[in-house]
Amino acid sequence: MKKLRLLYIIPVILFATILLATDFNEYAEENNNRTFTRQTAESTEYFDQMMSALTHPRCLNCHPSDNKPKQGIEAHPHYFGVERGKDDHGFTATNCNTCHQEENNDFSGVPGAPHWGLAPASMNWEGLSKTEIATSMMDKSRNGGKTPKEILKHLTEDPLVLWAWNPGIDAAGNPREKPPISKEAYIAAVKGWFEAGAVIPQ
């Protein structure tokens, strides 16, 4: 009789376990999806705002994919055959600082900011999608080993990055175009994106 009872009880327990496990998995999945959706919805707007600046020529011109810096809003190759060189700052004797100093020069129209030079070759963004740019930016193997906190600091505090909002005037005296959002809005978007989990929309 005992054996017969066990024969009934064991399948019931197994069935109940399967049901519970299924319910839990569904709940977990739903919960995860809900979290993911919330983060995506919240961060996508920040992401798009941030990327509207990072994909502007003021930023992309120094993230070339062919080792040739670009100039101007139309991103033409830098005059005089200037290239990356061994240390991202041009050739041996003719380098970035031959012409570019720590500040914009309104007499010559030559732009300038601290450590003027190209982003490392591993940070070549020219021709990439917003998603690909963000992925490379957050990839330690390509971003110079930077943690998300260090990337956040670079994006919001580095004077060369923020130069995009103080680009000076060109040789004809015309103000250079700035990114489409204000510096304050850009910094708020970057911080908001990181705080929301730095989710990269796929």
Binding site: F91, A93, N97, T98, E103, N105, D106, S108, V110
Partner: protein
């Protein structure tokens, strides 16, 4: 505003209203060193090239305030008739100049190149000597640069 620097081995101070004034203007108009030329005024042609801390810079695009406490060398300080710099000597040997206006800039750019790369290849020259010569003396300049490399004792360049 007072700005002090060494120029051609001599200490120099200038009083200037706008510290963003190009070093070229100070060198030519205040210090009366006319060898450095004004060409394009937008750091493109290289006629205004001089050395700051041994680096070639376009002085039309270099605010004088950045020269504070630094060593500046112009074409006048590179060498003289009795003791020409190897680049000047090579320039004379190859009769490089035509009108001559751009040549000080080329000579200063070449001296800066040889200080870092005593034996430049043609590619090195193409990459680093990007000044503009309206007389198109480029072929003679290339020969003169290679000649200057032969003439250049490393100590000469380092002591410049």
């Amino acid at each position: 505003m007072k700005i002090s620097f060494n120029i051609n081995g001599q200490p120099q101070s200038v009083e200037i209203e706008d510290p963003n004034t190009p070093l070229l203007w100070v060198v030519r108009d205040m210090l009366d060193l006319k060898g450095t030329k004004f060409g394009c005024g937008k750091a493109a042609c290289g006629a205004c090239t001089l050395h700051v801390e041994g680096e070639a810079v376009r002085s039309c695009s270099y605010a004088v305030k950045f020269a504070e406490g630094k060593n500046v060398v112009t074409i006048e300080g590179l060498g003289d008739r009795e003791n020409p710099h190897p680049v000047q000597q090579a320039w004379i040997e190859h009769v490089v100049p035509q009108c001559g206006y751009c040549q000080p800039g080329f000579i200063m750019a070449t001296a800066a190149l040889l200080a870092k790369n005593p034996n430049p290849t043609d590619e090195d020259i193409d990459n680093n000597i990007v000044n503009v010569c309206r007389c198109a003396t480029y072929t003679r300049m290339r020969k003169a640069i290679h000649r200057a490399a032969d003439l250049t004792p490393s100590s000469k360049v380092l002591n410049e």
